[in-house]
Amino acid sequence: MMTLKTHLHDEHVKLGAKIVPFAGWDMPIQYTSVKDEVLAVRQSVGVFDVSHMGEFFVEGPDAEQFVDHLVTNDILLAPLGKAIYSPLCRQNGTVIDDLIVYKISSGKVLVCVNAANIEKDFSWFKENHKNFNCRLENRSEEFSLLAVQGPKSFETLKPLMDQLPDIQYYSVIESTFKRRPVIIARTGYTGEDGFEIFGAHETMVELWQKLIELEVKPCGLASRDVLRLEVCYPLYGHELSEELTPYDAGLGWTVKTSKKDFIGKEKLASKPSKYKLVKLVLDKGIPREGYPVLNSHNEPIGSVTSGTMSVVLNKGIALALIEIDKVPKDEVFLIDIRQKYYTAKLLNKTFVTGGHK
C-alpha cells in the first residue's frame, strides 16, 4: 500500500528519525530514545508532527448546532474560544471516532479527527448535515499540525508567535506566525500543558525548524503513546471502537444525555456498557495489547487494550477491558504474559498526573 508523507517528512529524515507506516502515513516513531522524548515532555518541552490527523471546518449560522447534534458532549454550552473533547457515536451508541471540537468564532467550528477515520467521519458528517444551514469542508490536506507539549511550551511558543495570550487549557485562538495565519489551541494528548498549532504546510515547516533550532525535543509517535497511556487517555482502535460505547471506555462524562438531541441519545440514555475499562500496574513484566486478563481463579475476564513500560513509574502499565459481569470483587487481576501469570494492581487514578491546568 502506498503511504502518505507529511510535509515535515524531510525534516524527520534529517533528524535521523525511525519512520514507520501508521494509519496510511509514514510517521516518525522515534528520533533518539523514547525514554528521553517522554521525559522531555514531562519536564521541559517537546514537539510532535501530527499532521496526519484530519481537520474538518464547519461554517455558517448552524455550525455549532450541527456539531452539537453529531457528538455526545455539549458543544452549545461551551463559550466561543473553547475546545471540547467528545466521542462521535452512531444511533446504536457505538463509537465512530473520538475528536476535539474547536469553537473558533461564532459560526466557525474546527473538528480535529483521527487520521485513520478521516474518510469514515467525513461521510458521517455529510450524511447527517441535510437539515443544517452550514458549509462542511474536509481540509485535512491543507493543514499541517504540530503539537508542542510540556511545562515549557508556553514560554517557548510565546516569543515566536505574533500574538499568544496565556489562554486557558482547552481554549483556541486564531493568531499568526510570521504574519501567516495559524490556529493555536491549548490542547494535546500528553497530559501536560501544551499547544496544538494548525497552519499551512510551509508555515508549519518553518515553525518546526525554529523549534528544533531552539532545542525543543523532536518526539515521535512511540513517546506520544507512552505519554497518553501514562495519563490514561483512550486511543481509538484500542479502548474505543465501533463495538464499544463511550461507557465501555469510562467516557460517561462526555455523554450529555441532558442536552436536547443528538445522534445516539436514545440508546446512550440507559448507559449501555458491556465492559469496564480498568487501569492496571505491575511490579514485574510488561503488559501488551491483547494479553489476557484473569481473575484469582485463573479464569479469563478480559484483555489488555494498551500496555507499555511507563517511563515515569518504570513499571508495566495497562488499560484493559473487563467483561462487566466478571469484574472481580476481590480486585485481584492477573495478566497472562507468555503463559506466566503476573499480578496486577488496580488503580483508581491515572498512572501519572499530568501538569496541565
Binding site: G16, K18, I29, Q30, S33, V34, K35, A222, D225, V226, G285, I286, R288, T308, M309, V311, N314, R338
Partner: protein, 129 residues
C-alpha cells in the same frame, strides 16, 4: 546508520551474536538489534541447566514499545546467565557486545557452520532494510 559488527564474532539472521571459545558459545544481541529496539527495559533469559535447540526461541528482550524473541544460535545447555543485566537491561543499549546474555555448552559443533561471519552479517543487515 553505522552499526558495529566485530570480526571475531559469528552471527544469526535474528541478530544474535555468538562468541565461540573452546566448547562454549557466549550469546548476546547485536548493535543493529539494540538500535532497532530502542530503550531496552526488560529481559527474560532461561535458567542455568535449560536445554536450548538451535533456531528456537530461548527468551525475550523488550523495549518500551516492543517485544522481540531471542533465538538460540546453537543447541546445548545453558551454563551461565548474565545476572548483571537483570536489574539494568539498558546496558545492552550502551554496549551490545559487552552485554552477553547466556553461555551455552556446544552440543553439536557442526551447527557452528550455520552461523554467519561478520562479513555475511554485514551484507545481511545491508539488504534486509
Amino acid at each position: 546508520m553505522a552499526t558495529k559488527i566485530p570480526a571475531n564474532l559469528k552471527y544469526t539472521k535474528d541478530h544474535e551474536w555468538a562468541l565461540i571459545e573452546n566448547n562454549t558459545v557466549t550469546v548476546g544481541i547485536t548493535d543493529f538489534a539494540q538500535s532497532a529496539l530502542g530503550d531496552i527495559v526488560f529481559l527474560e533469559v532461561p535458567e542455568k541447566g535449560t536445554h536450548l535447540k538451535a533456531g528456537s526461541t530461548f527468551g525475550v528482550v523488550e523495549s518500551i514499545k516492543s517485544v522481540s524473541d531471542l533465538y538460540a544460535p546453537v543447541s546445548g545447555e545453558v551454563v551461565a546467565r548474565n545476572s548483571d543485566l537483570e536489574g539494568s537491561p539498558e546496558k545492552i543499549n550502551e554496549d551490545a557486545y559487552g552485554s552477553w546474555l547466556i553461555k551455552v555448552n556446544i552440543q553439536d559443533a557442526s551447527e557452528l557452520n550455520n552461523l554467519l561471519t561478520a562479513e555475511q552479517y554485514q551484507e545481511f543487515c545491508n539488504t534486509s532494510h
